[in-house]
């Protein structure tokens, strides 16, 4: 019989809650209390998320974020800084028991397996995507999705962003550039290396259309059925706690 996983349909939360929900589900799956889950979400306010190992003050222009009402959050996953524009991207998380045979123990292989969900999903939107190791998805040679993974004792979390519309200038205003003199050059180089669904299709796409395509992509890639569900009471309570005590705390934000 085909394996059934929980789908948490596209929701919008603030940054601290989004990251708290991921960790709450991860914790409950580790404890054997929650089902394997895929969720889709947006960020309101728009947010810069930084990787676990990054220095906030070295990577993010805090003043510019304040000015544009952009939140800043530290992820539990490594990787780089990402600008999650409320109107420009959709984020997904896959949270699964590490014992699940669908997920390779080798991290590089598991990126490939999980990113295949995105690849198949984008194909449904008539794009021609490809997985680019280690953790990117490209369309026409340009990056459209970045992904990051963490592993706990019994569970795996992979989350990632899919660009729907991209404003590279705004992104650069929010991030710090190591050398201001070459900022313009960097902007044009990133513009050449990054694309979005809107740009590739040459038309507007709505968020639910993208989320639906990705849902089907994951079902096909992992040979699972996604059934719409909700967070459990225990997950909700843990997420509230993590939001306040961890993700929105100065201690966590400025940890590195």
């Amino acid at each position: 019989m085909i394996e059934e996983w929980r789908l948490i349909e596209l929701t919008t939360n603030d940054a601290y809650m989004n990251m708290a929900i991921d960790e709450a589900i991860l914790t409950m799956i580790q404890k054997g209390k929650s089902q394997n889950t895929i969720r889709f979400y947006r960020w309101n306010p728009s947010t810069v998320s930084i990787g676990y190992f990054q220095s906030l003050i070295d990577e993010v222009n805090v003043e510019a974020c304040k000015k544009f009402n952009v939140d800043i959050v530290r992820r539990i996953t490594g990787g780089g800084a990402v600008y999650h524009d409320y109107n420009g991207e959709v984020t997904y998380s896959v949270i699964v028991s590490r014992e699940n045979p669908k997920i390779p123990e080798d991290i590089l292989n598991s990126y490939n397996v999980l990113c295949n969900g995105i690849v198949l999903g984008l194909r449904k939107l008539n794009l021609n995507p490809a997985f680019k190791p280690i953790n990117d998805i490209i369309v026409n040679g340009k990056k459209i999705s970045g992904n990051a993974q963490t592993r706990k004792l019994n569970a795996v979390l992979q989350h990632g962003t899919i660009l729907i519309d991209v404003d590279v200038e705004k992104m650069f205003n929010l991030l710090k550039v190591s050398d201001e003199k070459i900022k313009d050059k960097m902007i044009s180089s990133v513009k050449e290396r990054v694309t979005s669904i809107k740009k590739e299709l040459g038309r507007e796409v709505n968020f639910s259309e993208v989320a639906e395509a990705l849902k089907e992509g994951f079902e096909e890639a992992l040979n699972i059925k996604l059934s719409s569900g909700k967070l459990t009471e225990e997950e909700k309570a843990l997420a509230e706690k993590l939001k306040i005590e961890k993700y929105s705390s100065k201690e966590w934000l400025y940890k590195r």
């Binding site: 190992f53 220095s55 800084a81």
Partner: protein, 96 residues
Amino acid sequence: MKKNLIKFEYKVPGGKLIKVFASIKNGFIEEIKITGDFFLHPEESIEILEEKLKGIKVDDETKIRNILNDFFSSKTLIGATVEDFLSALKGVLNKA
């Protein structure tokens, strides 16, 4: 992070960045933070590495290499190699 730290950026071939911040006292590492967009599993272990590097003489490359080899032997490092970490550390320590 304190402001008076020495900073060194090391670009890993392929694109990722390792940025090291350190303070040196009398030729020994007093404080060190290794930051960047690499992946290390388990993530929290980076603090163990930083702790191990404290108190090491800045020009003792053999010792630093041994600490790195020993540390990474039980970890998964993605997007950078042990050699990249060594280069990044040497970069910041040479600036001291």
